[in-house]
Amino acid sequence: MIPLAHFMLVSAILFCIGLYAVLAKKNAIMILIGIEFMLNAAILNFVAFSKHDKIALGGQVFALFAIVLAAATVAVTLAIILNVYKYYRTIDPTKIDQLRD
């Protein structure tokens, strides 16, 4: 039986990797991947916690729901990235700084 703390640790590591990717990568696709990392860290937490809810399995249901949501998010995000590329001719987020003014 793997203790819960290990799941949490792996999840935290995944989350940190994802966060790093989101904050540091110079490519929108890589940021999207970072987001997926963080999402999956959360899903992992759901699944791990659902061990303590054997009757309702609410965690697993939430996990499934989140996976579906993630798929939709990715589709939308990719569409946004495509449009951004069309508009700016780049997907480097450091160059898209028009929010500044």
Binding site: P93, I96, R100
Partner: protein, 678 residues
Amino acid sequence: METLTQGNLSLLAALTALLPLITFLGITLIPGKQGRGAYFSIFNISVSLLLSAFLFFKIWNRNIVHEQLSWFTIGGTEFTAGILLNNLSVLMLVLVSLISLLVHIYSTMYMLGDPYLHRYWAYLGLFCFAMLGLVIIDNLLIVYMFWELVGFSSYLLIGFWFTKEAATQASKKAFIVNRLGDLGFLTGIMIVFSTFRTLDINLLFGEEGLVAQTVGSGIAPGAWLTIAGLAFFLAATAKSAQFPLHTWLPDAMEGPTSVSSLIHAATMVAAGVFLLARIYPIFDPTVLVVIASIGAFTAFMAATIALTQNDIKRILAFSTISQLGFMMIAMGVGAYGAGIFHLVTHAFFKCLLFLAAGAVIHEMAHFRAKTEADFDHQDIRNMGGLRKAMPLTFITMILASLALSGIPFTSGFLSKDAILIQSFEWADSQGGWVKLIPYSALLTSLLTAFYIFRLIFKTFFGEFRLKGQFSDKVIIHEAPAAMKYVMVVLAVFCLFLGFSFHPLSYEGSWILQGLPQQAIKHASVFDYHTFIPVIVNVLAILMIALAYKWYVKSKQAPDLSSNPVFLFLNRQWFFDDIYQRLFVNGTTKLASRAFLFDKKVVDGLVNLIANIGIVLSKISDWLDRYVVDGLIHAVASMAKTIGNFARNFQTGRLQHYLLTMVLVVLCFFIIKLFFPAI
């Protein structure tokens, strides 16, 4: 002629006075040629003369005509204006219009060729209007207005040749000196009005007038009446050129000679004497003594000055001052009728003297223009021997001079004797130092004989003094006809016949019989009526003989020019210098002081206040700039700094925002973790 009511007669009198005004308005308002207006003005003044002659025969020694209209009302006091015709008025009316007409005719030739002749006619019209209005009006206030108008039109005429510096100066001097007198007139009017609440001359100074009642009853405002009398007399001294306001008259000789003649004979100077006669009851014995002494002093002073002058017109001017002094003596000694009588006779012979002198000057000016020489054409030292060239002028002028000297069979004899005899009689009744007055008058009349015959002998006898200098191709001849005949007419009036049928007794004169006589007659030790004329004439003839001896016989009069007395007289008793130093310089000095005061003190104060204002505003500017603005700027710059700081977060990069967000969440997390109490 019964259809002519009082009202109609007043209307005629008003018309008489208004005709010259029509001349003035017609010439000034209707444009036309430069020299226009001669016939128009002569026509108007002739009609005036006819009307005044008619009025004279209707009114002289008959009823007084007095017509009034309501003028305006202030509060409960009603002011009336109207026309008052009595013997005095109609006499003056005829005198003024007759002399004016003669001067008008004379001027047609004398002023011929003057480029501004139309202005001359217009001014003459205004002058005659002012004088005629003055003699007929019954309200003191309107008399004052006409009085001012006389002064103003004389100013215009004296300064007629306004391109001459001396003429403009003289006109200004005449105007300013006359203003001093006007001050007296105004004071008098105010005193009279505040005492009697009316300005109606007939009501005030009539037979049973308010003044007569007051003086008779001896009640209250006696002192005020004395002051009013002195004030009115001051007015008369200015207009009639009496000491101390006589200095304008000699200077007024800068005007055209015909104007001088008019001023001296009928209009300007007569106004003063006329005023005294018109308001005669107001003068109490104190004022009368003042009038007589001023008159005597002026007469003597002017006669002595006339002895030493060389300008032909100036001699005549001082002679006028002197003769006006005689009229003042007459007024002062109560010989009211004699004063007016002398005014009338003097008007004719002085007018003639001036016109004859004008003829001489006219010819001398022509002579100068032809020879293109440079000499003073009014200086009697440059004349001489003119009796052959201008016999008519010579004869008429001799007649006028005899009248001026008071030789029997002339008009001047009658009026001058009237004054002298009555002044002696008056002095007898008074006693004291006033006894000097008739004696000084006697002395003056001798000086008169001397100076006028000095003028005659120097001008008409001997040889023409400039003959040697110029070739005798230019001959001086008689003046033009218009001037000659006027002089002849005037010469007739210099004879006794115009005034009295008895050549040696003034008492038969119709003028004196028409005017109020001296009330008090005194039986005296001497029979003045035979004594005075004999003395005067014997001495006058002696003086004439002396003049003849000096100026004709010996060719060379004793040279007195280094004598201090001569200098004193020649410089006109230094009155001009004294006035210059005392009043003119004083006034200019005062003015410059006032200017300095204005500049230094008043302006200084203003500037000081301005400077204080500037300093204050500088301080407030500094406060504004550094304190108020500084505060606002500090707030602004703080906001700016904060803004700049906050701006740094707004990089526009998505990842920075995220990082910030993460850090904030982390901060909250850490705070919550370590300080759970918050």
